[in-house]
Amino acid sequence: MEGTDNVAFLEVQNLTKSFGGLTAVKDLSFSVDEGEIVGIIGPNGAGKTTTFNLITGFTVPDKGSIFFRNQSIYGKYPEEICARGIFRTFQSAQSFPELTVKENVLIASMLRQPSLRLASKEAEEILVKMEMAEKQGIKTKYLTIPEKKRLELTKGLATHPRIMLLDEVMAGLLPMEIDPSVQIISQLRAGGITFVIIEHVMKVIMSISDRVLVLNYGEKIAEGTPKEVSNMPNVIEAYLGEDIAFAQD
């Protein structure tokens, strides 16, 4: 199968999910090429996080199809999807609170490393790379929110992902903390990781995304480069009252 089709790295087709009477994601199709950074924006309740949940198996879709590297991952369990190289972060950063930063990363490392010793070595290297080494002995329940978000990214790296789905990793960060995070993502992209990013901080989305999808009420209402998207009338309408023009500079 592999390579015979001309499908994108991550291909989502006609994805649909309803919760009772509410259609959270409606007939959504998009694709992500390897090495890209794709941003997803939209007002609250637009279905962004649900889309992530559907791709990663935390929520079972109603219909549609999802292909990752030419193989269907539709309806698979989160554990398997992670093993195939997709890592997602959670909107409210999730960790193992009573365990230390090092142990959190170590557990993630065990997915690929055959022994505890190798996993431990790798965890230390990743902690250094992500500039979290000095925090490694602290239980993660004592971390600040930005630190927890950084830790989640670090854990994600330890699972050797091909693509990372980041759900608002910049939310709650101070302006001066945002730039380093943007830098890290750029570095990781240069290292071969593809990104899909949900973000409310427009400055971030507009500066690092190659392409942007705009969702509203579960549907894709626009797609294009950041500059194209921010000039579309329907996007501005969806964000009525929000200062999209600000993002253009």
Binding site: T56, F58, P78, E79, C82, P97, L99, L111
Partner: protein, 328 residues
């Protein structure tokens, strides 16, 4: 997760266990004292088995008596009916309990029942067995089964002296503590703790949560059943309420809570502190006023939980922290 005292104390613990093994050699203990020690080790063993599932993996079972009872009934029934050696009966009891564990584990975890719901399922399961066994005549009904007397010796798992029982249960306890210690330092232990801490986050890093929870349930049930066979061979008698009743499940649960849930030594420390206190209050008050000792026991429990909500080991941890230490 280790407490501070555990991370510093492996040598100390080895010393304690060596000493425990030597006690019957060094002193002549009265049969009563031996019995108390045997019961402490017995409950420490069962609580440590519970701790694998309830403490390390965080799936709080309140029906562990089911597994103990299945162990006791399997070996005793087979000994009575076909004269099967109790050691082999012990293994078979473990298998029966493991299958039962797999069954309720699958039911609960596959339907995403956790926390209180898992607790209720396990209580229900144990109570069903309790009622069932009380009404099956070939299993002795409510009056239970008496273990037939055989020739004394290790092969028949029967002794006139309490000393051999002391060694057997101490060996079982040493095994489970070593086992817990080894698990907590391996992939399995880390994964179980990760599941306890946050299931979603565990799934996101590729841990097969359901499989690992099932594994923990099965191992815990398998080992708990060994305790049941030991108890049957030690007391020569089992009945549904002592072997399967909810009282046993609660007792199994209480020692780790007092000692420190999810720690390697917590169940042992909990039983060592609480069982003698319960016994003492029974000796002093039991004869005078019926039920007074239970009130005192309850009061002791409340006081311990007030001052050490994370158990005795957690208390040591807190004291250490207050003196300026820090978490690993």
């Amino acid at each position: 997760m280790r407490t501070w005292i555990e991370s510093k104390a492996s040598l100390f613990v080895l010393g304690i266990f060596a000493f425990l093994f030597l006690i019957p050699h060094m002193f002549t203990l009265s049969s009563y004292i031996l019995h108390i020690l045997i019961m402490i080790f017995y409950f420490s063993y069962l609580s440590s088995c519970w701790n694998l599932l309830g403490g390390i993996a965080g799936q709080h079972s309140m029906g562990h008596s089911a597994f103990v009872g299945l162990g006791a009934y399997t070996s005793t029934f087979l000994l009575l009916k076909v004269g099967l050696n109790p050691w082999i009966g012990m293994l078979l009891g473990g298998v029966v309990a493991a299958l039962a564990g797999l069954f309720i584990g699958y039911l609960s975890f596959n339907y995403r029942l956790r926390g209180l719901y898992f607790l209720l399922i396990t209580i229900a399961f144990a109570e069903i067995l309790h009622i069932l066994f009380s009404n099956i005549r070939s299993l002795g009904g409510a009056s239970g089964l008496v273990v037939p007397l055989k020739e004394e010796g290790l092969i028949n798992f029967q002794f006139s002296s309490k000393v051999p029982y002391y060694y057997i249960i101490l060996a079982m306890l040493s095994f489970i503590i070593l086992f817990s210690y080894l698990i907590s330092r391996r992939r399995l232990g880390y994964y179980l703790v990760a599941i306890r801490e946050n299931e979603e986050a565990a799934r996101a890093v590729g841990i097969w949560v359901i499989n690992y929870k099932l594994l923990a349930t099965t191992i815990s049930a398998f080992l708990s059943a060994f305790g049941g066979t030991f108890y049957a061979q030690y007391t020569y008698f089992i009945d549904p309420s002592t072997a399967l009743g909810i009282g046993l499940s609660v007792e199994i649960l209480i020692y780790p809570i007092v000692g420190g849930v999810g720690t390697v030594l917590g169940p042992f420390i909990g039983a060592s502190v609480l069982y003698p206190l319960a016994e003492l209050s029974r000796i002093i008050l039991g004869a005078k006023t019926t039920g007074a000792h239970l009130m005192v026991y309850g009061a002791i429990l409340i006081v311990i939980m007030m001052f050490a909500p994370r158990g005795v080991l957690g208390l040591f941890d807190d004291i250490f922290l207050m003196r300026g230490g820090r978490y690993r």
